[in-house]
Symmetry: C2
Subunit: 318 residues, 2 copies
């Protein structure tokens, strides 16, 4: 059964049949590349009860934009596969309007869709982008700086708290929750970074998985300095208030749509003057995925992160 | 509620937000057009109990290929959004292999996918094609011949019988059922026709809907000669055996992935020597959608066809 296999291996199996695969696929088209990605969100798995119809509409565009951003590509066109139970026409229109608006914010045409009646809300988005030179995960070089475009842990922490209790609406204004409900894709940043970085991916499935993806596909190791991982003060405080381990959320939590990239030192000096980016580690020759804490103690960073199609037991083991 | 509105109006509403729309969307890309389409299939609505995992895999590619064919475009790349309950890994692989194989048969790369755990099998496909001059629905001209690429009614009749009773496996070899379980997209035909026709669409939602789509978007009328509608002998006989009105299936049934097109007389003479095509009517100046029976009696062809999000009552009225 699929639950005995886990989503990662299912995706690995799926990839065997794919002609190409990274954060998104790329196919040559004249002197450029088409960048193609598809991402699905499902009521039970991805949609918090506190999300508005507008936020749901934004999210299905965002998750796909993030994959295009991770390739350093420019998004061009979006298509939506829409399935839902019999909701009100107004809610449907609110969701579709939000899809359109989120596309427009990132200069993307909303060009096609299909609708179906399904028992649970199921949205499948596809984004087509364009790039002259897509950035892959597989070109990290020994000596590269490992860096990230923003602070971590807030989306995962926010999601955790929202799932535990029905936080009242007033509280929702805390920007930590906004990151869980309205994550922003790093499209502009990805386009700028594409000219300077060696490898890149988004960290929507969690930092630890993304580090491993880059290291394994580039055949290198990565060492992360834990106290360099940027965590916003408000996130830090909210974690303490709720008895949550913020470092776990930062390393293994999902939902932060930041970009993780590796870059040589010279280029890092250039881009740190253009964008707010955080150095969190370096690419090493040995193939370990390691963390170093503030006392200099090294440890192995486990894969972790969220996988669908896994029983609770397996998730804890992972 | 969406059920009070009906899928057609929902799609109309959705289209207001779309930047472009026909059977598929088209966006300029240098000196060519990218053709983009997305189509979803859902366990309860589209998947017959008698379908094998292989046939389900083929179907999600076929429904999308048919939209690309209807634009007269060449399919290039396919992406799959996959959602299912916890099925066996072998069944999953069989389905994915069939997706890959159906892509290869039509020279299409299978480039991307996403997997999710959902309660019901839900597949969302996206196809990217390419065309130098996409064929729209909206260019039918008064005096054009209205023609179709194959015989009608078999997929709809086969589906009806399969849904009524669990036809035994031996019976399934009847080619009428094969058309319901393994429809073929008219990709090759669409590409050839694109050089000769004025307007084109696929008839996956039923002939009567497609006729109306062409007539309304071209601002013309269409007159169909009922006894010119091609119906295969085996389909005709199976209908009689099962007490079904085959003309209803041919006019209003869905699932026949043939192409409906309008073309001038000179070009029709050319393509009838290249492809097997059937003249079924003509484009008229008055804006009626009319049928003429063998006795010369004219009548209005209702919209009909299948719509999701509609109550039984409304479907009967429609």
């Amino acid at each position: 059964m699929l639950s005995e296999i886990g989503e990662r291996r299912i995706i690995e199996e799926l990839k065997k049949f794919l002609d190409i695969g990274d954060d998104a696929a790329y196919i040559r088209f004249g002197y450029k590349y088409l960048i193609l990605t598809t991402d699905m969100i499902y009521q039970e798995t991805h949609i918090l009860k506190q999300m508005t119809w507008e936020q749901i509409g934004m999210l299905i565009v965002t998750v796909n934009l993030s994959d295009i951003a991770a390739m350093g590509a420019k998004p061009v066109a979006f298509l939506l596969g829409y399935g839902s139970p019999d909701i009100s026409f107004d809610n449907f229109k609110t969701l579709i309007k939000a899809v359109k608006k989120q596309c427009e914010r990132f200069d993307t045409k909303f060009v096609g869709g299909d609708t179906n009646q399904t028992e649970k809300l199921t949205l499948s988005g596809t984004l087509i982008g364009i790039s002259e030179k897509p950035v892959l995960r597989s070109n990290a070089r020994v000596g590269d700086i490992v860096a990230i475009t923003g602070d971590l842990g807030s989306a995962s922490l926010g999601t955790r708290i929202l799932m535990k209790d029905g936080v009242n609406k007033k509280k929702l204004k805390n920007p930590v929750f906004k990151k869980a409900l309205e994550p922003e894709p790093r499209v502009k940043e990805g386009l700028i970074l594409s000219k300077y970085v060696n490898s890149m991916t988004d960290i929507s499935d969690g930092l630890s998985i993304s580090i491993r993806d880059i290291a394994e596909s580039s055949n290198v190791g990565i060492e992360i300095e834990l106290d360099k991982i940027p965590i916003d003060d408000r996130t830090f405080n909210l974690a303490i208030e709720n008895g949550e381990d913020i470092m776990k959320h930062a390393l293994y939590g999902e939902g932060d749509y930041e970009l993780l990239f590796t870059i040589n030192k010279k280029n890092f000096e250039i881009i740190r003057n253009i964008l707010s980016v955080y150095k969190i580690g370096r690419v090493t020759k040995n193939k370990e995925i390691a963390g170093v804490d503030s006392k200099g103690v090294r440890f192995r960073i486990e894969r972790g992160g969220y996988e669908h199609f896994k029983s609770k037991h397996q998730k804890e083991k992972a």
